[in-house]
Amino acid sequence: MQVLMLGSIGLPVTSGVVLLAFSLSQRLKAAGRVERTEEEGKLQEGGAWLYAYVFIALICSVGFSMAAAWWGNGSVTVFQLLDTISIYFHVDETGRLFMTIISIIWPVVGIYSVPYMRREGGEKRYYAFFLLAYGMLTGFVYAGNLITMYLFYELITLVSMPLVLHNGTREAVRAGRKYLFYSLCGAYCGLFGIFFLYRYCGSMNFTPGGTLEYAMVSGHEDIVLLAVFVMLLGFGVKAGMLPLHAWLPTAHPVAPSPASAALSSVIVKAGVIAIIRVIFYVVGREFLQGTWVQYTWMTLALLTVFMGSMLAYREQGFKKRLAYSTVSQVSYILFGLSLMTSDALSGALLHVIAHGFIKCGLFLTAGVFLHYYGYGRVEQLRGIGKKMPLVLGCFTLFSLGLIGIPPTLGFLSKWYLAQGALQSQIPVFSWLGPMILLISAFLTAGYLLPVTINGFFPGEETSDLEHTGQKDKTDWGMGISLLLLAVFTLLPGIFPKPLLQFVSEAATIILK
């Protein structure tokens, strides 16, 4: 058990570090999309060895982490930082769920990256940080106490930042800096909350139901609530919650598309996990239910849902639109969490899955258009369906999923979210919540479907695409990864039974 757990974190990290050292030993190459001819394209730095190395490392790591996840409840204390603080890993329901999603998305994005990153350059560095990020995520998801979680939260930020500023352009560096600054600010808010809870909690270890010691808290309720709220805001930064969501639309568009897919579908969820851990595993929901913290949190989440959709609706840059959409969609999850009822929590967890696959798929399609035609704006995509019907078809499927149309997974998650809100019996929010979710779904349709419609039916205008003599077939790597994601969006929607059962069990455990 120990070997599995440590292997699942250690293997990707070591292989990433080795690759990084290797890439540092040679000169790095980056700086924008350099135009290259076909012959040059084959002489890129990558090569079969690199891919073999990366994929063997990745598959072994995925194997380790999945084995660690599904073979019993393992826990490992790795290191004693101080007498009272240890680096401690523990697998539980939440960890299992998130790790499985990450372990599906990561190889898919990896396959996609092969053709995509060959063009972008700097492959060694990219894959090094890609592997490192997987290791850090594993550590983060399996973290068994707050300090370990905080450590890996910071490390995730640090290893995902180079993915954002991969291109090395001025814009990318600025975006990377913004991402880092926002994330660190958020993390520090979380950290000071942790310092605070360290005194008021019986233990830092995650226990469903919380470890807050009411005897110590009594008389200091206000300040503890304030600390929890600051932590919520802090960890909410990663999840793109208002008011600190601005890094998302800056960082995602400049990152290479597979990196933005990974960021948007997985790394953003790190904030969600952190909030689940803090609220349900450390502070305990009894302490928060009915307090101003819960109401403010709900309000912020709903505001973010609405604002994000509106901003996405108005945005013309394709990837930026998707980034705003992430802002909005992740707050669906946060809203579900803030309700603190069983159905809403199941909905939130389902939406984690749904949004993970769907947003990953959407960013990857955006990447395909960018890769082959260099089209990054929505109006340029008119008529693209004629050239790439399969890709746009997948895009349509993902869009339907995100809007929440059956039989996709997105429908289920939103159904449960609305159900949970209606059952929660919280005044105003019980009806306001579903209403805003509905409005946001319309807006989602409004910003995603026109791309499909104009893509397949460009109308009278002749598009530039007609004249370009480019090949219209997509690389197999990209095609496969898109299809895989499409399957993952559809299948659980059509056969939801086992998933629903797992999620509702998880929700009961979390809410204990």
Binding site: A31, L82, L191, F196
Partner: protein, 524 residues
């Protein structure tokens, strides 16, 4: 009495006499003598540490065998011995790392004078740590000031002379206040030995006699030493002094000299004034307030600073603010946190200075953000070291900075009035730290940009961006400056030692914390 008990005295004497010895030696030999002395003193201190750790109680060494109220004494506990050892380690690393810069920046004829100053500085630091006599402490404070001035001024240009003058004025003002406070205390108690003064002060405090003069003298001594260690409003001398002096001077000044004064202050609080008297007085609150202001203002100044060494120097102002904040909490935990931070900051700040010099060297001497872009690729080890130092400063777990932040926060939680200000100041200062340090880290790993496209292109050629895999040889041929580890093996070794030291402090802090607690108990 065990033979080991002579070691503290022997180390002070060795360093004291090796100073004048260096005046008659050539620069090269002076350097060797200096390194040998530091190593020997380090080993002696380690022996003393082992001995004191074994016996579990502090020992008193009488100089010239005169009995207590008249004779001069040395008193050594775990903490003193550890500090002596730690200072030697850091000083050795700083001296080794800065050797090349010294050769380039200091005139041939003055090389040996530098080592005179360094030896005297080490001597005075050791004396400050070990002595049990308040007046001896004052004498060595003066020696410390003079040798520190020499260290700043040895690289002779307008900037350093101005900086040294400033330092001299501020520092002498500080010593003056210390002397005044000391005189008051002598007047009140009739003693100069710390233990004897403490007994008398205890009686005074119990009877309530001479309350105001006592407080005045405590205040004067605190302010005097705070001034000398660059607590916020008295920090004006610091950025120039650290920013323009030669590398080893900057590293030693920032990580050792100011820390020596802080250690003396803590010692005065415990061994002279008595902790109960201190907690009863308002002096601690003053230090607390200025510490907090320093934490924030220092970081703000550092943020506005464009030049890497001055940025690091301003960050020192903030870190010294942390230390005074911990002292100002006037609790046992606060003191432990402060002393841990003295150690952690000493190790980190010198690392940052050395790494920054490596980056500067790889950027053709440019010290600004613009020039340093991409230097992490041109001098890889320095880049990694700077990243490690920055992560430690911003409080990443596994590094020493995190542990000290944790202890500061723990010391503050539960403190009735000071909890919230401490938390807010810690949070703001941490965020600001992250802002400028991480900005620098990103900058050293991103391409250089010039004013226009042409310049951009020429930089790209020099640094090998944009043009596929370019070897370092090609970059050199293109006019880029690249530094390999094998070019500067000694500096590389020093950097690696610094990095390892940081990890040790961050990952293995429990024994150190326990030792600090034990040492503070031995103060009593």
């Amino acid at each position: 009495m065990n033979f080991v008990c002579n070691f503290p005295f022997i180390s002070i004497i060795i360093t004291l006499f090796s100073g004048p010895l260096c005046t008659i030696l050539s620069g090269k030999w002076a350097k060797r003598v200096n390194e040998a002395v530091i190593v020997i003193v380090g080993i002696l201190s380690a022996c003393v540490l082992g001995y004191v750790g074994g016996t579990g109680e502090a020992f008193v060494y009488r100089m010239g065998h005169f009995p207590a109220p008249w004779g001069n004494e040395i008193r050594v506990g775990v903490l003193e011995a550890f500090m002596g050892f730690f200072f030697c380690v850091i000083m050795l690393l700083c001296m080794v790392a800065g050797a090349r810069e010294r050769e380039e920046e200091i005139e041939e004829s003055k090389q040996n004078l530098y080592y005179v100053m360094v030896n005297l500085l080490l001597c005075s630091l050791l004396a400050l740590i070990y002595t049990n006599d308040l007046f001896t402490a004052y004498v060595f404070v003066e020696i410390n000031t003079i040798s520190a001035c020499g260290l700043i001024m040895i690289r002779q240009n307008g900037r350093t002379i101005e900086a040294a003058t400033r330092y001299m004025i501020m520092s002498l003002l500080g010593s003056g206040l210390l002397l005044l406070g000391l005189c008051f205390l002598y007047d009140l108690t009739g003693h100069l030995l710390m233990s004897n003064i403490k007994e008398q002060v205890h009686i005074l405090a119990q009877t309530g006699q001479y309350h105001i003069p006592l407080m005045v003298s405590v205040g004067l001594m605190s302010v005097g030493l705070a001034m000398k260690s660059a607590l916020y409003p008295f920090h004006a001398w610091l950025p120039d002094a650290y920013g323009y002096s030669t590398l080893s001077s900057a590293a030693i000044l920032s990580s050792l000299v100011s820390k020596g004064y802080i250690f003396l202050l803590i010692k005065i609080f415990y061994r002279v004034v008595g902790f109960e008297v201190l907690t009863g007085s308002k002096v601690a609150n003053v230090l607390f307030v200025f510490g907090i202001i320093g934490m924030i203002m220092g970081s703000l100044n550092a943020m506005q600073e464009d030049q890497i060494t001055r940025m690091i120097a301003y960050s020192s102002v903030a870190q010294i603010g942390y230390i005074y904040m911990g002292i100002g909490l006037a609790t046992q935990e606060g003191m432990v946190a402060s002393i841990y931070h003295v150690i952690s900051h000493g190790a980190t700040k010198s690392l940052l200075f050395v790494a920054a010099s490596g980056l500067t060297a790889a950027s053709a001497g440019g010290t600004r953000y613009r020039n340093l872009a991409g230097s992490g690729y041109r001098n890889k080890l320095a880049g990694i070291a700077f990243t490690v130092g920055s992560l430690s400063m911003v409080g990443m777990p596994m590094f020493s900075g995190f542990i000290s932040k944790l202890f500061f926060a723990q010391a503050a939680v539960g403190h009735a009035h000071k909890m919230l200000p401490t938390f807010i100041a810690l949070a703001i200062s941490t965020i600001l730290n992250a802002a400028y340090f991480m900005k620098m880290v990103i900058s050293i790993y991103s391409p250089r940009y010039g004013g226009n496209e042409e310049e951009d292109a020429s930089y790209a050629v020099q640094d090998g961006w944009n043009y596929g895999e370019v070897s370092h040889k090609e970059m050199r041929r293109n006019g880029g400056k690249v530094i390999f580890m094998k070019d500067q093996p000694v500096k590389a070794a020093a950097l690696i030692c610094f990095i390892v030291l940081n990890f040790i402090l961050g990952l293995n802090s429990e024994p150190i914390i326990r030792m600090i607690q034990k040492g503070l108990a031995m103060f009593g």
